[in-house]
Chain length 340, copies 2
Amino acid sequence: MTNRKEVAELAGVSEATVSRVLNGIGPMKESTRERVLEAAKRLNYELNAVASSFARGRSGNLGVVLPYVPKVHLFSTYYFSELLSGIGEAVRSKGYGLLLLFRDPTATYDYVSLYRTQRVDACIILGASAIEAELEGINRLAEEELPFCVMDQKFDNPLVSIVAADHEQGSYDAVKHLLDKGLRTIGFLNGSPQYSNSWDRMSGYRRALQEAGIQPDESIMYEGNYSRTSGIQAAKDVHRDLHKMEAIFVSNDRMAIGLMQGLRELGCRLPEELKVVAYDDSDAASLTEPPLTTVKVPFYEMGRLAAERLLDRLTDKGNTESVINERLKTELKVRKSSGN
Amino acid sequence: MTNRKEVAELAGVSEATVSRVLNGIGPMKESTRERVLEAAKRLNYELNAVASSFARGRSGNLGVVLPYVPKVHLFSTYYFSELLSGIGEAVRSKGYGLLLLFRDPTATYDYVSLYRTQRVDACIILGASAIEAELEGINRLAEEELPFCVMDQKFDNPLVSIVAADHEQGSYDAVKHLLDKGLRTIGFLNGSPQYSNSWDRMSGYRRALQEAGIQPDESIMYEGNYSRTSGIQAAKDVHRDLHKMEAIFVSNDRMAIGLMQGLRELGCRLPEELKVVAYDDSDAASLTEPPLTTVKVPFYEMGRLAAERLLDRLTDKGNTESVINERLKTELKVRKSSGN
DNA sequence: ATAATTAATGTACGCGTGTACATTATGTCA
DNA sequence: TGACATAATGTACACGCGTACATTAATTAT
């Protein structure tokens, strides 16, 4: 493997000059620049990323922490590929690497160790839930003021950086849409309460109803776990209560799809007998019959934003405050399932 | 950030001894070992991964190359999470990192550069298709004898390492299952021909028919692109040709789900009017109505195997030959969609 | 024309670790 | 007890790059 020294010799300059040319640092004669680049090309030389990282004292990697396998299945391909693509785009444009990290469900994940061992310069944590081990790990990160960001979840700790969508407002919009059509009895199939954004959805749901002067009815609120299976399972209860509601708001597309599938099997006609508004606007949303009215969430942008902000913070670009706290807007996509 | 020197001082030994204790190398007195470990703990010391990589001349990372975004959507969450989990498991158990790399569709990806810059020690390439730029990049890797592995695709070049499932046999089994039930007219909805494993499926399909003395009928062979949408689209043609076939073999679950959805909307009763056998055994397979008879593919094992073999090769463990060529067995899962 | 400034390049060292080799302690065997 | 093998530890340096500082060349100001 050829190194800087050889390039320097071939170009007839010092190693430092080679380094400067390759990193575009300081003023230099164009002719020198060209000689060095030419020499590098001839020798098939490229900067050794590991040595470079070592000299800089940084790994050059952004870590993305994934929940352990069973939880991963709760994410859709859409969610994942959008989020990761957004992160990937930011990471690439800034010359960083993207290190994938799987959480170990058995142990309190020692996030701090990732930094201490210099495996990552920053982290984005996906699918964080409100269980003890997770909170502990995240709070320790915050204490040490390490650059990290939790994706799409809330935390009490004001030192925890977060990029999320405004699910309270998104849910409000979804329910308001149904109310505006004159529907008054609106059920709710929510996801697991272990995720804070489930609470946000509940909050938006209630706000919309209350603004319309409607007392929320606990007997038509259901709980799934964001999976399609749980939607199918909920179908039985929803079907039983069909006389009590004209519409239902579902916390994500996958559950909505499962719910509709289950209801149809029970002989329910959609959207005639029940209007449905879902959440995410995943690929599948427009493919169902009827197509889903759903709340579009800007996953790609969320991923990109989180990564950009973290990486910017590393390079101190206008780093006024280090805690990230972003709420991105959602957008209601009206399709047939809500009765249009 | 504390370093080796401080630990050595606190423990009253040399830096080399600290290094040996931490890497478990050579004979050493248990008392020394304990003193060092104790000192490391007191100082909150952990090995600096970057410096370590640098000294070893390796990045310690396994790269996983993903196709660009639009293609990603063709994979299911099941496929991805299984494959990545398998890879992740191997990578973790061997103390490596998992670097995610997104292909740039516009350029001939310079895979070799990943090694030259020492960003990765080995690579697994997912979703490789038979387009020119891709072939070129992969063949160059092979020429340079770099440690890499293509996942679930065939290549003519015998120097290209591959871990794949035996889709020829898997498809044969699927069709044979239908034949064994006395069905004689069996259609085929295949995926994009740009992927070699689509050809394998076709081959298995034909072999099964021919062994049964049935002349394959081109007029009931359809082509999708592995997406659910393409399954829905195929439904129209299949519905039109329903009188020509008793059953259909579909190249993956997603298309099968789309197809069944589309057919049902056209008033087709399943499995009464058409038996369906699909492929992958993804999560969704058992959730459809009727549940899918499908070919289970060991994605997790494939990921793990590929990663293990690559990483073993790096450490020269019984490295008899360096080209990996594995075909894993599939397994038919019989459910209701094939008429049981 | 000379001083002052800036451009362009070179010199030298540190970053934290792995490890070859040298050295010293410990044990074994006669 | 001495010769010798082996265990245990220390010494010293390489790895490839970034960069502070020193130096030299070119430009500008006076």
